[in-house]
């Protein structure tokens, strides 16, 4: 399943937060490579820097020093506008909560990214409905988030994340608000997406379940990579 194509590459990534009285060194030199098709989890205690790392490789934040390349491009010179475009076209996001726009239906939520990309209406609707079916929400296409369970909402989030065929999907603690049964089925579905659509997944997580499903586990501690376990190797 491993492909040599490197989707994400970081070299000596450092990030310092200077906003309160004390400077926080979130990342102290992280070197990481993510390859196409991986199903990877970043784990570590709170404060280990996993969310920060995810934000940086997700082009949401700039590192204090070091480089990060996404799909071969060095992000250091990117303007806000270019980062935004990159996120739109190449990266998919799934968050712990508040993923969806509450006033839009499941289909409209999924359509949203395609709209931003300029996909025309007919194709948008087709692809949205297709992907929702794939994640098992065929009957919920026109439902609003507040009428769905937590697990269903996360499925919609996954659908939206992969509908635009991103190079990588970044998921920040996606199972944190779900019970274990729902988590399992969500993870099952994501693994299926990984296998059928060849979508690369990078998780940031506390959840043992996620770590079990992951085929590569990167442990972070105090802003550095402590361990890098590749189960397939």
């Amino acid at each position: 399943m491993m492909n040599n194509k490197t989707i994400i590459e970081t070299k000596n990534l450092e990030k310092v937060y200077d906003d309160s009285k004390v400077a926080v060194h979130a990342l102290r030199g992280v070197n990481l490579e993510v390859h196409e098709g991986e199903f990877m989890a970043l784990s570590g205690p709170s404060g280990s820097g996993k969310t920060t790392l995810l934000n940086i490789i997700g082009a949401l934040d700039h590192p204090t020093s070091g480089t990060v390349r996404v799909a071969g491009e060095d992000l250091s010179g990117f303007t806000k506008s270019e980062l935004s475009r990159l996120r739109l076209d190449r990266i998919g996001f799934i968050f712990q909560a508040y993923n969806l726009i509450p006033v839009l239906t499941a289909r409209e939520n999924v359509e949203y990214v395609m709209l931003l990309q300029g996909v025309d209406e007919k194709e948008r609707i087709e692809r949205a409905e297709a992907i929702l079916e794939d994640v098992g929400l065929k009957d919920y296409i026109n439902t609003r988030p507040n009428e769905m369970s937590g697990g269903q909402q996360q499925r919609v989030a996954v659908a939206r994340a992969i509908v635009s065929n991103p190079d990588v999907v970044l998921a920040d603690e996606p199972t944190a608000n779900l019970d274990s049964a729902t988590s399992s089925s969500l993870l099952e579905m994501m693994r299926e997406m990984n296998e059928t659509h060849n979508a690369t997944f990078v998780f940031s997580t506390h959840d043992r379940l996620v770590m079990e499903y992951a085929r590569r586990l990167v442990k972070l501690r105090d802003g550095q990579v402590e361990d890098d376990i590749d189960k397939d190797a």
């Binding site: 949401l60 998919g92 726009i101």
Partner: protein, 408 residues
């Protein structure tokens, strides 16, 4: 674009109670503006109408200088000459000849200064409402020696219908003309002052009294509508000014009224501005809080690739839709209320005595809804809503997605 509109519209209704409250504020604001301005307009329209109907008419023609100085020597020597032109002018619906002079009227008990109107009993009812004010007896019938007086004058002079009173005025000849007249009818308008000061006799009697046979002081013209006043005046000016005559539209005859109308119209703008400001406070806070509530959601929107400009745009549209909804609801409410008060009017008779300051308008005011009012008030509401959305929109557009996630 459609998505932005869809989002904006649906976002407004996320919290129904909150939207309902702010919409109420907008409805009250709109209604308040429209109502106040319509009432004021109603009053000024009534005042103008009363003045015009009480004798000013739409256009007055005199010998040059008569309007400044009501001297009988300033009269129209050849009325027929003028009338020919008047009849040829389009949009003229009626006209009448008059003699106007100042004089003294006396009864055995009292005397007082009056304005003498020598009128054509046939033509006058088409140009003024004086005949309609009749309350006792008859209007002039053309018989010699008739006089038509106001109720408050009759009371002052202690006379009744049928009594004889003496009229005196400075005529063209050297002496003061005097004559006895019998009261044929008594009128009562909305203004006691008007009733006390103006008396009406037949024009032929006036010509005799003031020694000016065949002459008239003024020819008054009524046009199709107020909008026609200007073109008719222009046309008559062209025809008649060469002959040493003055052609005056009502604005020049009663410049005070004209000034007052523009003063009140100017006041409208103050109303708009104040209500806009009052609404803005509530709307800004409402939109601001509703936007800040969604910080995380908007952060995610930006994370997945929404440009800040789009977020800005979405919030601005929320302001727009808020304004639009408020406008619609406001007009529905306003129209309902107006449907009622347009029929009943607003009764201001407790301040009846002060009405004399306003040219004797009727004690029941009907609101008048002009296009200016409709546009001005609607625009104000829109402006308030959209303007209020700017600050929240800018604020949220500058959001850094990362910070959004860290905000608790």
């Amino acid at each position: 674009m459609l998505m932005t509109l869809k989002l904006a519209w649906r976002n407004i209704w996320r919290n129904k109670r909150r939207s309902a409250v702010i919409l109420t504020a907008i409805v009250v604001g709109l209604f308040g503006m429209v109502f106040m301005i319509a009432i004021m307009k109603g009053m000024s329209v009534d005042m103008l109408k009363t003045s015009i109907e009480n004798g000013v008419g739409h256009v007055q023609i005199h010998e040059k200088g008569f309007n400044d100085n009501m001297n009988v020597s300033l009269n129209i020597r050849d009325p027929k000459y003028v009338i020919n032109f008047v009849e040829d002018t389009p949009s003229v619906t009626a006209y009448a000849e008059r003699i106007k002079a100042r004089g003294l009227v006396s009864s055995p008990k009292s005397s007082t200064g009056v304005e003498i109107w020598g009128i054509d009993h046939v033509a006058e009812p088409d140009v003024s409402a004086v005949k309609n004010y009749l309350v006792e007896g008859d209007f002039l019938t053309g018989k010699k020696g008739e006089i038509y007086v106001g109720r408050s004058l009759a009371e002052k002079l202690k006379v009744e219908k049928g009594d004889k009173i003496v009229l005196m005025g400075q005529g063209l000849a050297t002496e003061i003309g005097a004559g006895a007249f019998r009261i044929s009818g008594i009128f009562e308008s909305t203004s006691k002052e008007f009733d006390k000061y103006n008396i009406y006799i037949n024009i032929t009697d006036a010509q005799e009294l003031l020694s000016m046979p065949g002459r008239v002081s003024e020819i008054v013209v009524v046009t199709e509508s107020l909008d026609h006043v200007e073109p008719v005046t222009a046309s008559l000016k062209e025809d008649l000014e060469v002959g040493g005559l003055e052609v005056l539209p009502w604005m020049e005859v009663i410049p005070l009224m004209y000034q007052m109308i523009s003063l009140w119209d100017a006041f409208n703008y103050i109303v708009y501005i104040l209500v806009i400001v009052a609404m803005a406070f509530g709307i800004v806070n409402t939109i601001l809080m509703s936007v800040l509530e969604r910080t995380r959601e908007i952060g995610i929107l930006m994370a997945i690739g929404t440009k800040p400009g789009k977020v800005f745009s979405m919030v601005m549209w929320e302001g727009f839709f808020l304004g639009l909804t408020g406008l619609v609801a406001g007009w529905v409410f306003t129209m309902l209320v107006f449907a009622v008060i347009s029929r009943t009017g607003i009764n201001i008779s407790i301040w009846a005595d002060s009405l004399k300051y306003m040219g004797g308008i009727s004690p029941i005011i009907y609101p008048v809804l002009h296009w200016n009012n409709i546009f001005g008030s609607s625009a104000s509401v829109f402006f308030a809503a959209v303007f209020s959305a700017v600050y929240p929109a800018v604020k949220i557009m500058r959001l850094n997605p990362v910070e959004a996630f860290r905000s608790v």
